[in-house]
């Protein structure tokens, strides 16, 4: 018996070692960092313990800019992408021929490198000396005036960022919602049909409640994912996000850690913990709401 009990831990050992070194220890360490004032990574010394790092970060205009960008991004993309995904999944569910090829196509962005495809979006939206870019030409063709979406006004840049983010997160949502729709027992629809239920009533009274757990799951993961936005922005605006005014909270963390403005792990830790607190709060709020509204 004793030999067996040792054995279980033996099988777990590699996982425990890796997780201990690269997840548990860092987790504790990041907390410590965030309270160590004036930490110097070269000499590995600090001169105090306190909340200074948090205060600094919360007053840093770059952080506030990042915070604002992230919130705008979250508020626009989460509802919009979930809504569009629901529409697409419903449309997909209503057809039979071509359903599978369409589903495969829709999933394609999931497997592509965000950085690489972001470049394509950049050249589509960018205005250069040689060309206004395809999107701008379209705008002009419809009678609008062209605008540089990559180096231009703030709202234009935010628009591209939201657009690209939605394009990137859509495959996952469409996939989850189509499988949720497919798992609704068709007998419910037959039963509703027998009772002369109108299309809208079927949707609001049967379909929506049945897939509501999955919708909430998508909203929760969507919030978490959008709050951690970073590489989409890098793909569009380059690594120097502060200069572009398009930084995100995660981007701020990495900038504090490394790169031209880097070398401040304490500030980075404080910012990361603030992000974690925001995400945790929003997730809890989401869970509370979903408890009230998800029916089973």
């Amino acid at each position: 018996m004793k030999k067996r009990s040792m054995k279980g831990w033996l099988y777990l050992l590699p996982a425990i070692l890796f997780l201990g070194c690269f997840m548990v220890y860092p987790l504790i360490d990041v907390l410590i960092y965030s309270f160590e004032e004036g930490y110097n990574s070269a000499s590995q010394t600090y001169y105090g313990i306190g909340l200074y790092n948090y205060r600094y970060v919360l007053r840093d205009p770059y952080f506030l800019q990042a915070l604002r960008n992230t919130f705008i991004l979250v508020i626009i993309t989460v509802p919009l992408s979930t809504g569009i995904a629901l529409l697409i999944s419903l449309g997909l569910h209503a057809i039979k021929p071509l359903r599978n090829p369409y589903q495969t196509i829709y999933f394609l962005p999931y497997v592509t490198n965000t950085l690489a495809v972001g470049l394509v979006f950049m050249i589509l939206f960018k205005k250069t000396a040689y060309t206004d870019g395809l999107v701008n030409l379209l705008l002009q063709w419809f009678g609008g005036s062209s605008v540089d979406f990559i180096d231009g006004p703030y709202w234009a840049k935010m628009f591209v960022l939201c657009f690209y983010t939605i394009w990137v997160v859509m495959p996952f949502k469409v996939l989850i919602l189509t499988s949720a729709l497919a798992s609704v027992n068709p007998e419910y629809y037959s039963a509703a049909k027998m009772d002369a239920t109108s299309k809208s009533r079927v949707f609001f009274k049967i379909t929506l409640p049945m897939i509501s757990p999955m919708i909430f799951y998508l909203v929760i993961t969507g919030f978490i994912g959008a709050f951690k936005a970073y590489s989409d922005a890098v793909a569009l605006f380059g690594t120097d996000l502060n200069a572009a005014g398009m930084n995100t909270i995660v981007g701020y963390v990495y900038d504090m850690l490394y790169g031209n403005s880097g070398g401040y792990p304490s500030f980075a830790s404080a910012a990361a913990l603030i992000l974690f607190a925001i995400v945790l709060t929003i997730t809890c709020v989401n869970l509370l709401i979903s408890k009230k509204h998800v029916h089973y």
Partner: protein, 291 residues
């Protein structure tokens, strides 16, 4: 008789409504498909336009009559794209392989072995799933830097090896294998390790393949960690490579060559996906998340 005429009208109206709905549905779905596919088409198209003709087009053309592969040659010669590629393959394969070696015994221990503290250990494991990567990456960066492992494969690979989520997924799968098989093997005097290798792994092959594919996708697209840990081009992965190309490669405006590079690094995963699309989609819908 009157009834009959009425039915005809009801029927015809229902048919018309259905056809209209279907048409609108297909149009919208096709529009979205085009929106998804267009960037891929554009990068392919741009990558075969010559530098001169691309820059001469104020209004970009949707086709090209003089396709060239020159951009692909440029992509591999002017910047070390081959090197990035090789690095990424090494990184992806080693990380995925190591991860399998780590998660399989862990999942097996949780699913089949009985040892004191198992429940507690599993709960702790699960709670780790909630920890965002952004939180631990700071210390990992410092650790790897202090160990002098920057710009090495070891430094790239080590922190990406474990995934609590995949341990969980695999454990669930292992638990579906009937207990009787394990009992039977014990009666036959099969050791746990032999049982794991000979019985459980073959049975769980579909899940293992799914996990491997998901991990490969994740590795191939990873950007943040490699960016932090490498500044030597010899260790860049494709994501960092593409960013480097964008900022310093080719002279600023050689967009066709840039697109050729983008095509080259996108193709392997797209091919992998098209081969395994059912497995990938099933795996992701079972709980994969991006980011």
């Amino acid at each position: 008789m009157e009834n009959k005429i009425d039915f005809d009208r009801i029927e015809r109206r229902a048919a018309v409504r259905k056809r209209t709905f279907q048409t609108v549905d297909y149009v919208l779905l096709t529009l979205w498909a085009l929106l998804v596919l267009f960037p891929f088409y554009w990068m392919l198209l741009t990558s075969i336009k010559s530098y001169g003709s691309y820059n001469a087009e104020y209004i970009p053309k949707f086709y090209t009559l003089a396709p060239t592969l020159q951009n692909y040659a440029d992509a591999f010669t002017t910047v070390p794209l081959g090197r990035y590629f090789l690095n990424t393959i090494i990184y992806t394969l080693v990380t995925t392989g190591l991860m399998m070696v780590v998660i399989i015994p862990a999942a097996f221990a949780f699913a089949r072995l009985d040892f004191p503290g198992r429940q507690l250990a599993f709960t702790l494991f699960l709670s780790l799933m909630m920890i965002p990567n952004e939180l631990v990456i700071i210390t990992n960066f410092v650790t790897i830097t202090n160990l002098g492992l920057r710009n090495t494969y070891t430094g790239l690979i080590l922190p990406s090896v474990t995934s609590v989520f995949y341990i969980y997924l695999l454990k669930e799968n292992f638990e579906q294998i009937p207990d009787e098989l394990y009992r039977a093997a014990q009666v036959d005097g099969t050791t746990d390790l032999k049982y794991l290798l000979r019985v459980m792994l073959p049975i769980s092959k579909p899940t293992l393949v799914t996990i491997a594919i998901l991990k490969i996708i994740e590795c191939w697209n990873s950007y943040v960690w490699p960016r932090l840990i490498t500044d030597d081009q010899n260790y860049f992965l494709v994501s960092n490579g593409i960013q480097e190309i964008r900022e310093n490669g080719f002279g600023r405006e050689n967009i066709p060559a840039m697109m050729a590079a983008v095509v080259v690094i996108s193709v392997p995963l797209i091919v992998l996906f098209l081969i395994f699309h059912k497995k990938v989609m099933a795996g992701v819908s079972r709980g994969g998340t991006k980011g």
